[in-house]
Amino acid sequence: MAGIGSSLEFSGSLTSSSLPPPRTRIFKIIVIGDSGVGKTCLTYRFCAGKFPEKTEATIGVDFRERLVDIDGEKIKIQLWDTAGQERFRKSMVQHYYRNVHAIVFVYDVTNAASFRSLPAWIEECQQHALGSEVPRILVGNKCDLRDSLQVSTDTAQQFADSHSMPLFETSAKSPGGPEEGTHRDSDHVEAIFMTVAHKLKSQKPLILSQPPAESRGPTVNLSRARDEGGRGWSCSSC
């Protein structure tokens, strides 16, 4: 855990010599996963509060941020949205792995190959010295497309357990469930990133306030189980 405190400071340490103004803490979160799993949609959803009209391939890295209020403290959440194509991550993206506070792995629940790539992505992070001390979460995206489901929650949960990550299943398109017109309060994409932010702020092990519904691990199926999770997930956002 020691790493987090010091690297957080880093983001503000360059210019603070005498009487620094009260600084906004920055949480830097990198979002990775195969091409087309919806990394851009997820990050856009969180930062802009809506599903993007169109997203095209991300070339290199894209950057989005949002100021949130966590327990009275203003915190800037920086999301680094990365290109999915392998050639980019090999020689381009590593620059952006530095000083990362948390990692969000994304796969597409309707694309088994994107799930099978996860070990490679985890390996990739380890190569960049982002070990298990850096909070990591697993997000299965596009779970609004139930008819073409290829990765079962059980399979994903097993994988998440074996890597000590919490698993979230959601949809950047309709994060509040199949019915449209979601408000931020009931927005589960919101909840995912806010959970990470809370975790980073508290720097305590990630314990979900929602009791695990029926399964072994901390699966949170955000699309299906939102009523049960209501209280614990409502984060004050600005």
Binding site: A57, I59, V61, K90, S91
Partner: protein
């Protein structure tokens, strides 16, 4: 120079024998570029030394079978459908080029280049242009890895250093890197500009220029935004964020002129002396001189058309139109090839000398020139 006069000059240059390529290049670079898509359809092929009467056939159905990059191409094209509804043609020309040249690897952003060509010149000519570009200007981006691309990006900071040390140092301190310019470089800005007319204007410029020109334009853009950069927080995220979002109302004509000026003042050969740039050779750069020489002795369309056995059905204009069938690839092909060989021979020793150095780096590329 007025628009009318420019049009007249371009037409005159096109009708010279050999084509007055220097005038066409100047027109593409100077204010307003090539002005209209109709002119682009005529001049772009000349800038790349392509005989429009000998275009490759439309890709067959088999092109979409079993290519290693098939899924990625499909994914990227589908996502760009809002810009270009004819995704099938786009997928086909991309896969056709990749299939013809197994040494070329698809990268995300290649589809942005392909779509720009396709929208202007139509399927078969886009295929010919894309084929040529992929083997020359874009060649470095199409290696199995992106190490060569990184090398090209490494030219950016030395240009800034020459012009504005303070800005350069600020960016170094911020550790911003150069990835903010990656999509600019490998898509020739097609990925980041929302106004298609600006993309076209830049394509005129780049098609007539050295393969490194997109980097010089990147430098011109960063320099143009110097004040904004310097007043932002000296932090990787902030500077990356600022620079990667390209303002949509940039003064493109001015920036093009400045990029050209930067290129003239600090040519790649001068920058290459920088330590960071010495370690690697670029195929695009090393083959460029030979490529440019090869464009010098082209026949005008009127002559090229006569040289073919089966003249196109109506005017030369018609043959230039996209989707106009022309059966020259089969029979007439040989005659044209002979003519091209003849022309190539006249280039003689000069090309040979350049070719020798380039041969070291890309023999297969050079063979396509002749």
């Amino acid at each position: 120079m007025g628009k009318k006069q420019k049009l007249a000059e371009i037409h005159q240059a096109l009708n010279c024998d050999p084509v007055d390529i220097e005038t066409l290049r100047r027109a593409a670079v100077s204010k307003g570029g090539l002005l209209t898509d109709e002119i682009r359809r005529k001049v772009w092929p000349k800038l790349l030394n392509i005989n429009v009467f000998d275009l490759p056939p439309k890709p067959g159905k088999d092109v979409r079978e079993n290519h290693r990059d098939h899924n990625q191409v499909l994914l990227d094209v589908r996502r760009s459908m809002k810009r270009f509804p004819k995704g099938k043609q786009l997928i086909d020309i991309i896969l056709d080029v990749l299939k013809c040249h197994p040494q070329l690897h698809y990268y995300q952003g290649y589809h942005d280049v392909a779509v720009t060509l396709l929208l202007v010149v139509g399927e078969r000519m886009a295929l010919a242009l894309l084929d040529k570009l992929s083997n020359f200007h874009l060649r470095d981006f199409m290696d199995p890895t992106m190490d060569s691309t990184k090398h090209i990006l490494n030219y950016l900071m030395p240009i800034l250093e020459q012009v504005d040390t303070e800005l350069h140092d600020f960016m170094i301190r911020a550790e911003v890197g150069t990835i903010f310019a990656l999509s600019w470089l490998i898509t020739w800005y097609g990925h980041v500009l929302s106004e298609f007319k600006y993309t076209l204007r830049l394509y005129d410029f780049f098609l007539a220029s050295h393969p490194l020109m997109p980097i010089y334009l990147a430098a011109a853009i960063v320099l143009h935004r110097e004040k904004e950069v310097k007043t932002t927080e000296c932090d990787m995220a902030m500077v990356h964020h600022l620079l990667s979002r390209i303002p949509q109302d940039l003064p493109y004509e001015l920036l093009i002129a400045q990029a050209q000026e930067l290129f003239d003042h600090y040519p790649p050969s001068v920058l290459a002396k920088k330590a960071a740039l010495q370690s690697r050779k670029s195929l695009s750069i090393s083959t460029f001189q030979a490529f440019q020489l090869s464009t010098l002795h082209q026949r005008p369309d009127s002559v090229l058309q006569r040289l073919t056995k089966n003249p196109a059905p109506s005017s030369s204009n018609m043959a230039l139109l996209p989707r106009e069938p022309s059966s020259l690839w089969g029979q007439g092909n040989r005659v044209v090839k002979m003519a091209v060989w003849g022309l190539s021979a006249t280039l003689g020793a000069a090309v040979f000398a350049v070719a020798q150095t380039a041969m070291e780096w890309g023999p297969e590329v050079l063979l396509q020139l002749f």
